[in-house]
């Protein structure tokens, strides 16, 4: 608050209201009314199901009907003992190790290269990168299958040059983390490039002018000024990409899904932890193990986010 004095002509401040017109408790009530609908949907579709999942993870489902607290930690043990648990965790770990650093580095590099010297061509390219993000989900899997078919792909010269003859030569268990990385980058990079581009544009011009006067060249400006200033956005991107990629489901599910795809036999039916949870729940009816695995995944995601937030001092908007 500023120290200005507000003089109200001929009005005794007897009732000591901070602001005239609307009472204080009315304001507080208004405040709660603003968050009430949000709180209700959060309860119904966020916190509620989350807590229920916690309950289910300790429930016994062997008779078909849930026996709450009947299972102890046996659902968690069942998850850890399942041979696919280590397999799917290793898969997702490899995918994250490749996709997260590579994705962030390439997004930042492309945003900086585009924004370095504005002009009609960089603007057109930025739009091109961005609009490609419209191809996503099942359609993206479809496109990828076409792109990786050495007989019809527009990149067939490249694929055939590398010695691939059939789709199955390109899509096999060992190549999946890379393929999902290529897919994820295709669908998501344009949006993040636009966000980082916006962040670069928001750097005050006097800062850049000062750097020019001090004799910094374009690359020095990138390394010593632009990069540190867009750091919060990079962290933000890191958290969201990590959270999104941990949950990989659609791509491996569709890729493994049909013998009509021509790749069914080469892609394991359960590749990611999320698929394993789905498999526990809807193919084996073991809802307890499915919930246990989902909560393990949540713990991993929260742990990672917490570490990042602590290390980087992000979310300090209020101070």
């Amino acid at each position: 608050m500023t120290n200005q004095t507000v003089s109200l002509p001929n009005e005794p401040l007897a009732n000591k209201k901070r602001f005239p017109g609307v009472s204080r408790w009315r304001r507080r009530l208004d405040g709660y009314l603003f968050v009430l609908p949000y709180f209700l949907v959060m309860l119904a579709f966020g916190i509620g199901p989350g807590l229920y999942a916690l309950l289910i993870s300790f429930a016994d489902f062997t008779t078909g009907l849930p026996k709450y607290f009947g299972a102890g930690f046996s659902n968690y043990l069942a998850v850890f003992k399942d041979f696919r648990f280590v397999f799917t965790i290793a898969n997702i770990g490899k995918f994250l190790l490749i996709s997260v650093p590579l994705g962030i580095a390439m997004v930042v590099i492309l945003a900086i290269l585009l924004q370095m010297r504005p002009g009609p061509l960089p603007t057109a390219l930025r739009t091109l990168y961005f609009v490609s993000g419209a191809v996503t989900g099942p359609v993206l899997v479809l496109v990828l299958i076409f792109m990786l078919d050495p007989s019809i792909s527009p990149f067939k010269a490249l694929l055939q040059g590398m010695g691939f003859k059939l789709t199955n030569d390109v899509i096999y268990p060992g190549s999946l983390p890379y393929l999902f990385t290529i897919m994820g980058f295709f669908a998501g990079a344009g949006l993040w490039i636009a966000i980082q581009y916006g962040a670069l544009e928001a750097i005050p011009t006097d800062v850049m002018e000062a750097a020019t006067i001090d004799g910094a060249n374009a690359w020095q400006k990138v390394i010593f000024i632009k990069f540190p200033l867009i750091r919060p956005y990079i962290i933000y991107q890191f958290i969201l990409i990590f959270a999104g990629n941990v949950q990989l489901f659609v791509e491996p599910q569709i890729l493994a899904g049909g013998n009509n795809l021509g790749v069914g036999g080469n892609v394991p039916a359960v590749w990611s932890p999320n698929q394993l949870a789905y498999n526990f729940a809807f193919e084996r009816g073991n809802f307890g193990a499915a919930s246990a695995l989902s909560l393990i995944l949540l713990a991993i995601g929260l742990g990672a986010a917490y570490l990042i937030i602590r290390w980087t001092g992000f979310f300090k908007i209020e101070n």
Partner: protein, 320 residues
């Protein structure tokens, strides 16, 4: 810019000066190497992002043999596009039209519900202080990270309890919860709305509702654009929810529909002996055209929304 400090370059050693000049002419941004490298990277990624989209568009015009024989980026015939369109429309007596309509319905409902709920909440979290506020912020962050597989099963049971499984509401109601929107709104107002402005209006006797409606909302047009964009694309592409919560083909949206279509027909492998139960006669052009039906509306939204993403609601916090 009155005085320019020129002492730095002069103070450098001759070696550094020469090295600096060499750097500028080659790798530096003015140099041929820097220029070449920059454009090589940018154009390489243009190919990566654009060629698959171009191929998808052109594939709708080619028959299965043409896809093998013609240049991958050649055009087939308009007649083939019309044929592909007819085959898709005839599939299961026009089921695709149901799916498209469902997609629109789910996305529009989700958009309306989630924005009317999350924007006031994010606003009040930013401008007011009340008991429980920090808890709500933390819960918002945590729920943003909840894996859908953790929620989908309890949600299934919950919706089953109120008899909403296999209805459109099973998809629409959960999407009303949009923690990302609340969080972004909170960041936006916390970093860009001066508290003095609100206090001034309070002195004038505005209620909180009037403050929100007459001051906060008009200031938020870039934020609204960005949230509408993110929300619409997320829900348009929603696969996991409908895949698990709906059991009736008539209620599917396009993402689940396309998966169903590809699995049930010969569209991706027209030349091979089909597995039992697979509908034959469908070619890749049908699958490609189906994909485009799903992609084109989003592409238009992307084009409109680009300026909101760049001009951004994100950028308020850069000074902080």
């Amino acid at each position: 810019m009155a005085t320019i400090d020129t002492s730095h370059p002069a103070a450098r050693s001759p070696f550094m000066k020469r090295w600096g000049r060499f750097w500028m002419r080659t790798v530096g941004d003015q140099g041929i190497l820097g220029f070449g490298l920059r454009w090589a990277v940018l154009l390489l990624f243009a190919v990566y992002f654009f060629v698959p989209v171009l191929w998808l568009i052109l594939a709708t015009s080619k028959s299965a043999p043409q896809l093998l024989e013609l240049n991958p980026l050649a055009f087939g015939s308009f007649q083939r596009i019309v044929e592909a369109w007819q085959r898709i429309i005839e599939y299961q007596k026009g089921e695709v039209l149901h799916w498209a309509l469902n997609s629109v319905r789910y996305a529009v409902w989700a958009l309306a519900l989630s924005l009317t709920i999350s924007i006031p909440a994010g606003y009040i979290l930013a401008v007011a202080r009340f008991p429980g506020r920090r808890l709500l912020l933390w819960l918002t962050l945590i729920t943003m990270l909840l894996p859908p597989s953790a929620l989908v099963l309890p949600m299934f049971m919950e919706l089953n309890l109120v008899h909403l499984i296999n209805t459109a509401w099973a998809v629409i109601l959960p999407s009303a919860f949009f923690p990302f929107g609340t969080y972004l709104t909170y960041i936006y107002y916390a970093s860009s709305l001066p508290p003095d402005l609100l206090d001034a209006a309070r002195v004038d006797g505005c209620s909180e509702v009037q403050l929100f409606w007459h001051i906060a909302v008009p200031l938020a047009s870039p934020l609204l654009g960005l949230l509408a964009f993110i929300n619409f694309t997320t829900n348009w592409n929603n696969f996991f929810g409908p895949y698990v919560l709906l059991n009736n083909n008539k209620l599917f949206n396009l993402p689940v529909g396309i998966q169903q279509f590809v699995a049930a027909t010969s569209a991706l492998r027209p030349g091979f002996n089909p597995s039992p139960g697979v509908m034959v006669g469908y070619q890749q052009a049908e699958a490609a055209l189906f994909g485009l039906i799903m992609v084109v509306p989003v592409a238009i939204v992307f084009l409109i929304a680009q300026r909101y993403v760049i001009g951004g609601a994100f950028t308020g916090s850069i000074k902080g």
